[in-house]
Symmetry: C2
Subunit: 334 residues, 2 copies
């Protein structure tokens, strides 16, 4: 049997298990040009909160009664496309489901001797590519500049900061709690990491960024953004990747007065990684050797069982994850 988590009702604030319904049906067969996979890994990402809401966004919401969307890595069990055979491992099937029917052309075949499969959803996948594109296309950090990364221990932030370190920058992370901050400094090699739960976040950041902030990689918004914004240097860049702190909010708070944008010639640019699809393969090729040799560090929080995906998403939205959040839906490739 196939199990699917379908959207039962739209969450009012953070998502809860009761917003979803477990549906069972027969394992489907593929029609021409289609492939059926059994899901191994399901990626859980902050953007999913937007799909649960009928608020206007860059992508349409998931319909009530439809399976929730999400990127997976799976094993092909049935193929009606000449490009795939059972046993192939693929990236790209979408859905909170144990078995997924996909158009073959939406899938990327993964090597069995490459990086660990879960890495293709995190450090080498959408979050890693987001960090790469954000830095390459917007932030453009130069050696000697100061770069600040919010959600620094997260799937995007941890990669963004390591890219800035490779570019020769002073990199200061912002993360929630002493464990994450310690990991960001010790394991990721950031120059400093400030805990956003402390009082005087702005003053702490100012001490770590005595020449101001040249690049701010924004994943969080809210009080963190408020502390960072006044510290931006002349010609500072804000990579506007996400504002997870407000994704479950119904009322949005005002933001910074934009007068400083003129005087400091700030550059603020929003991004959605899929706008530059060529960056995915580019980053995978660039970073796979770094993952294999251990020089690009990442961390995962793994939760077992499809039925726990809503809780996994709630954790991502409230800072309860540590690194990339994944749900293990089925056993690894044989």
């Amino acid at each position: 049997m196939r199990r699917s988590l379908v959207l039962a009702e739209r969450p009012r604030h953070h998502p809860e298990a009761s917003n979803f319904l477990l549906r069972e049906d027969d394992i489907p067969r593929s029609a021409a040009g289609e492939v059926v996979t059994r899901t191994i890994w399901l990626s859980i990402d902050p953007y999913m909160r937007g799909r649960l809401s009928d608020r206007r966004s860059y992508a349409p919401p998931v319909a009530i009664g439809a399976p929730m969307t999400g990127e997976t890595v799976g094993e092909v069990i049935d193929s009606a496309d000449p490009g795939f055979v059972p046993g192939d491992i693929v990236l790209g099937p979408r859905g909170w489901q144990t078995h997924i029917v996909s158009k073959a052309k939406s899938l990327t075949k993964l090597p069995r001797d490459g990086a660990p499969l879960s890495a293709y959803l995190g450090v080498l996948g959408m979050p890693g590519t987001t960090a790469y594109s954000g830095m390459k296309d917007i932030g453009q950090p130069k050696a000697g500049e100061t770069v600040v990364i919010s959600a620094a221990s997260g799937a995007v932030g941890s990669v963004a900061g390591q890219i800035a370190k490779r570019a020769g920058c002073r990199v200061v992370g912002i993360a929630g709690g002493p464990d994450k901050c310690l990991w960001v400094q010790e394991a990721l090699g950031f120059d400093a990491c400030v805990d956003h739960r402390v009082a005087h976040l702005g003053r702490m950041l100012q001490e770590e960024c005595p020449n101001g902030i040249d690049v701010y990689f924004e994943n969080v918004g809210g009080a963190v953004q408020e502390a960072v914004f006044p510290l931006l240097a002349d010609f500072g860049r804000m990579v506007m990747c996400g504002m997870v702190a407000q994704y479950s909010d119904n009322e949005l708070h005002p933001g910074p007065n934009l007068g400083a944008v003129v005087g400091k010639r700030l550059y603020i640019q929003g991004m959605i990684v899929s706008d530059r699809p060529e960056r995915f393969a580019e980053w995978r090729e660039l970073a796979t050797p770094w993952v294999r040799d251990g020089s690009l560090v990442y961390r995962e929080t793994i939760i077992d069982g499809l039925e726990n995906a809503p809780e996994a998403l709630r954790l991502v939205l409230t800072g309860g994850n540590f690194g990339k959040m994944l749900v293990r839906v089925g056993p690894d490739a044989s």
Copy 2:
């Protein structure tokens, strides 16, 4: 005798005549590499408010006791530089003064058979170049797009909108009062102009911009920005040129929530025209024929007498000008 307006005290809100002192001294002579001009036209521009304040900005403030700064067109009366002779007309001497000593290399000689001299401070000068650079380097309007210009009848906005019309855009102005709005539509040829003094500014703008706003040229800030921001389209650009509505304020109000910057992939970029000095000559060359053939329309508000410069500046900061604000300090070139 030379007359100078020197800064006596920093204004608390809008500038007043009492913030300045009239000082008289001898007409100076030029030392090597210097040129002395008698001032014909003094340009009055919103940025001057920043120079009166000791708040951190991109340029240092004018010191108490020093002549107020401002760009002029003048006639050379004494030169100790081989590049200039008495009778030359030049752009570039700076100061609220009847006679100004300048380094010769800071001056641009103007043709006597070119555009009217005052135009070199407005439509062909710093404000015109600001509009040109803002559109060329940031806004990049494309045919068929919707462009909104605040302070649309002003020295910068009037040019910015005409550039967007030449690019084939739908151009909607925002201006203060029916006279200005009428002129923006009839004389400048904008497709529409909304009076920001009406109630429901946001709804009025939405009606004029049914497909959203692709480029917003920001000169004003405040309630106008608040009305425009939610109407920005996906991939919308904000040319952050100025926020004159708050230049005299001591407390800055919050701005828009930046969540939409991510979802809509907005691009917000601050500018100071002097960061791209090559644009000045480029624009002068491009636009002089348009001024001479009347296809680039501009309007001036002229106030006579150096002693009225503080009042002219107050008017610019409160919307009391109509087009480019100038002070006529001395008679035109002989």
